[in-house]
C-alpha cells in the first residue's frame, strides 16, 4: 500500500512538472518584453556596436517569430553602410506592452554618435515603468548626442543579460530529466509492488516449509 502511495506521489510530481511548463513558456515571452524595455537605456547601446545591436535584435525577433510585414512603423537606420530595420521590433513592443496594460510611446532608433546607437523612447522625458529606464530629453530622438561612456553601468550590463536570457529555451533540460525520472520511478515502484507481493508469498511459503 505504501508503495502505491509513493508511486502516486511520483505521478503527482509529473503532473505538477508538466503544468509548470505553461507559466514557464509565458514567462519566456515576458522576458523578451523586459529586454525590449530595458534596451532603451542609451547606456546599453553605448556598450554595443552596430553589428552587435543588429545581431541581438534579430535574435529577439526570431525568438518572437516576428514577421517584418507586421510593422506599424518601419524604422531604418544606416550607419557605416550597415542598414538595419527594426520596424517589427517596434510592433512587438507595442503588442507585448498591451498585454501588460502598459502604455509606451513609439520606440525608435537614434544615432547618438558615430558607430553608437540607442533605442530610445519616442517621447522625451518619458519614464517607463520597467526597470526604472528613463528616456530623458537629452536622449530623445533628435536630441543632443551623448558621449560614449567608457565605463559600463550596471543598467547596461543587466539589460544585455536579460536580452540574451530570452533566447534560452523555456523547456530546460532539467525539466525533461525530471519527467523521465518520474516515469521511471512510477514504473519501478509499481513493479516493485508486485515483486514485493510475490516475494512476501514466497517468503511465507519458505517459512512454512
Amino acid at each position: 500500500m505504501g508503495r502505491i502511495v509513493v508511486a502516486g506521489l511520483f505521478a503527482v510530481l509529473f503532473v505538477i512538472q508538466a503544468a509548470s511548463l505553461v507559466p514557464a513558456y509565458e514567462r519566456s515571452r515576458m522576458r523578451i518584453a523586459e529586454v525590449v524595455y530595458r534596451a532603451p537605456d542609451p547606456l546599453l547601446a553605448s556598450a554595443l556596436d552596430a553589428m552587435e545591436m543588429r545581431a541581438i535584435l534579430e535574435r529577439v525577433m526570431r525568438a518572437h517569430n516576428v514577421r517584418r510585414a507586421d510593422t506599424p512603423a518601419n524604422i531604418s537606420v544606416s550607419v557605416d553602410a550597415l542598414t538595419v530595420e527594426f520596424g517589427l521590433f517596434d510592433g512587438d513592443v507595442r503588442g507585448i506592452a498591451a498585454d501588460f496594460g502598459q502604455q509606451v510611446g513609439a520606440a525608435s532608433l537614434n544615432k547618438l554618435s558615430s558607430g553608437v546607437y540607442a533605442v530610445l523612447c519616442g517621447s522625451a522625458a518619458q519614464r517607463l515603468s520597467f526597470g526604472g529606464c528613463t528616456c530623458s530629453p537629452a536622449n530623445a530622438p533628435g536630441g543632443p548626442a551623448t558621449s560614449n561612456s567608457a565605463s559600463l553601468p550596471e543598467s547596461a550590463r543587466f539589460g544585455i543579460a536579460r536580452l540574451s536570457e530570452s533566447r534560452l529555451p523555456w523547456l530546460r533540460p532539467v525539466d525533461v530529466l525530471a519527467m523521465l525520472i518520474y516515469v521511471a520511478a512510477i514504473f519501478v515502484w509499481r513493479r516493485g509492488d508486485r515483486q514485493h507481493a510475490t516475494g512476501s508469498v514466497a517468503s511465507r511459503q519458505a517459512g512454512v516449509e
Binding site: F10, M51, P173
Partner: protein
Amino acid sequence: MLGGFGLALLSVVAGTIVAGSIDPVAFPDIKLVCKALGESGPECVAGTVKAGVVSTAGIVVAMLVTWSMRRALPSAATADAPHALALPLATASAAILGAAYLVAAIVAPPSLSRVAEISQHAALISIVNLGWPIILQLAAMAPDFRTRLGYLASLVALLCITPYRATVLAAAAFGIVFPALAALLSTARESSGFRMRTWSIWRWMAIAAGAIGVTAVAGAMILYQTAERTSPIFRTTVSAGETASSLALKLAQRIAYPIYQAHFAERLGETQALPSALDELASKLRLTRRENLNQQLYRRIYGPGTVGETTSLYYGEAAARTSLAPFAWVVAAPLLYVLAWVLLARMGVDVGILAGLAIWRGSLGGTFSVLPAFVLQVLIIWLLCRLTALRAPATASNHGR
C-alpha cells in the same frame, strides 16, 4: 567529503590561475571590483593572486590534516534512515513545494526581471536550498536502487524550482559522479590486474560511462546557457564573429571572479566595519533584515539598489571578519565540518554528503553563510536516524515473539 574538498580545491586553483593571467579591464564585472577599490589593473591582480594562493594552500593543508586522521574517519554509513517514512515524506514535500511554486507562478504577477523573480520566490527557494541536500544525503544512505531512484525523483523536483545552476551541478556531482567514482575505485580495488573478471570490467565500464554521461550532459547544459547569456564581454568578440572566444571569456570571468571578490572583501575589511558572523547567522535564520557580508559586498561593487551576493570565499570571510590570518581560517573552517562528520558518525549518524556539500559551498560563500543550513540539515538526519533506532528494538521484540 573528499568530493567537497576536491571541488573547493578545483575552484580556487582554477580561479587563481585564471585571475593571474587576465587583464581585469577586459572583464566588466572584474573591472568594477578593481574600480571600486581604486586599484590599478596590476595592483588588483597581485592582491587577487595572493588571495588565491593562500586559499589554495589552506585547502591543501586542510585536506592533508583530514587525510592524516583518516583512521578515525568513518568508512561507511553507520546508521540506517527510516526510508519507509523518509521517502514518502521527501516525495510529499517535493510535491507540496512544486505545487506551491506552480501556484505562485500562476497567481503572482509575473516578474520581468530574473533577480526580481528570485526575490519574489525567495522563501520558497530558501526552503528548497535547505531541503535538497537532505534528500541527497538520504539517497546516499538508500539500501537499494529503487529507494535511491525514489529520492532522486524528489530531488529533481526541487532542482526544477531553484534557479541556481550550481545546485544542479552539485546534485550531479555529489549524487552521481562522486558515488560512481567511489564505486569505480572499489571495483578496481576488489579485482585488480589480471584477476579482474569480465563482469567486473563490464561493471567498471558501465559505471564510468554513466558518470561521464551525466557529467557531459550537466556540463553541456551549463556551457550552452553560459554561451547564450550575452554579457558586455560580447562587445569585444561578436563583431569579429568569435562566439567561442566569447564563451571562453565568460567562463574565465566566472572562474576568476570569486577570487577577486575575496580580494575585495579583504581590502574593504581593512578600512571599514563589515557585517559580523553574528549578523550573518541572524540573517540566515531570518532573525534580522540587515545585510549579510556577501550582500553588502555585492552592493558595494554594483551600487545601491542592486540585489545579489558575492562569493568571498573562506579567505574573504576571514579577512573581513576576524583578526586571524586568513590562512588559519581557510584551514580551520573546513575542518569544522570534518569534525562534525566524525563526531556524528560516532553517534551513528552519517552526514558525509552534507559535510562535503558544506565544505564546497562554504569555500565559495564562507562558513557562516552555510553553517545554519548545515545544522538544520544535520538535525533532521539525526532525528530520522533516531526514529530508526527507536523502532529497531520494537521490531526485534516482534521477531522474538
